[in-house]
Symmetry: C2
Subunit: 206 residues, 2 copies
């Protein structure tokens, strides 16, 4: 029996996925609109229109919920490309990140995660775990490139992905320069050049 | 007649420089300890032990004062090296930046400049102008490297310096990874590899 919107009155076991999606979406809206301090399981449940026990059944606390909601959201909004060419893959990934940052959902979530609230230890820890998961999600780009001999064998996927992100976040958080496709393309070119030169291998050569 | 501390009662024209240095130092301490909202010419003058007309004579408003104090401070604390070798220059510059970020003065100033207060338009504008000045200060590293044929002729100094800074700020503001000499050295290596490959030329090749 398929689980979709026609089964709104079916038992939770069946309509589980749409409910989980609604809870995750409510979590990010709550975070972006009201901030981390107001992010409670109660508020999220109310916003999602579910009972709070439904939320607690799946997530132990708000940090786990936040991490899961964030990972799921970014995996959907900034998909990991597989074009068969590492340069195109990196460019698409960088462009996707730039578009996501410019979107209301992405901008709102990032503003909270990276703002003063980001210095709260729990949110800093959620952020670290989020990026670790994200690097794992996107690592296949690098592994496939190594298999196709487009990159040196020792290239570290996480280091390459950080090199790709770094100039984009620098514009967003430090220099205030525009975040556009050109910025994304240059980020991809720089990261790729460094990787090809062996500067993103693990362990570092220096 | 030399201007030094023995001339405390000399006219301002003579003991000008120590007074200006005291005002600049008071500006950064005020910013780091009390935040941008509390940064007024009155508070700075009181902290520096000078009359506020002394401050107004030199700086029109607090934004100008902040920009000047910041530029002067960073030029002193993170000197632009000239070792005769671009790799050593970039490494020293990156290590200097990492040390400065870890210092109470640097950390305090950066926290305010890049925190939520950084979204105040005046402070965002001061920050943009500060980085523009800083790129000009450090540009000779790149120009000398081009003259020595260590880097391609079209290498853009500001782009290279941003590539050097980006992974350091990513650790500080996003991933929360440690900021140490290894991080600085890797940042230098990545920026250099990208520049050598022509990925940091201006206009961008992409």
């Amino acid at each position: 029996m398929p689980c979709d919107d026609r089964h709104r009155n079916a038992p939770l076991g069946c309509r589980g996925e749409p409910v989980l999606a609604a809870v995750r979406a409510a979590t990010l809206r709550e975070l972006a609109e009201c901030g981390y301090a107001a992010l409670t399981i109660d508020n999220v449940a109310r916003r999602a229109g579910v009972h709070k026990t439904t939320v607690y059944r799946r997530w132990h606390d708000r940090e786990q919920l936040l991490l899961d909601a964030l990972s799921d959201h970014v995996a959907t909004e900034v998909p990991v490309p597989d074009t068969g060419d590492v340069e195109r893959d990196l460019r698409e990934l960088a462009r996707g990140l730039v578009r996501w940052i410019a979107s209301p959902a992405g901008g709102g979530v990032l503003a909270t995660m990276l703002s003063d609230a980001g210095r709260v230890p729990a949110i800093a820890e959620a952020r670290r775990r989020f990026y670790r998961q994200r690097f794992e999600q996107a690592a296949p780009i690098v592994r496939r490139a190594i298999e196709r001999r487009e990159l040196p064998a020792g290239t570290d996927p996480a280091e390459l992905l950080k090199a790709l992100m770094a100039p984009i976040y620098l514009r967003l958080l430090v220099t205030g320069e525009p975040l556009d496709e050109e910025a994304a393309d240059r980020a991809a070119e720089v990261a790729l050049a460094a990787a090809r030169a062996g500067a993103l291998s693990n362990p570092p050569r220096t």
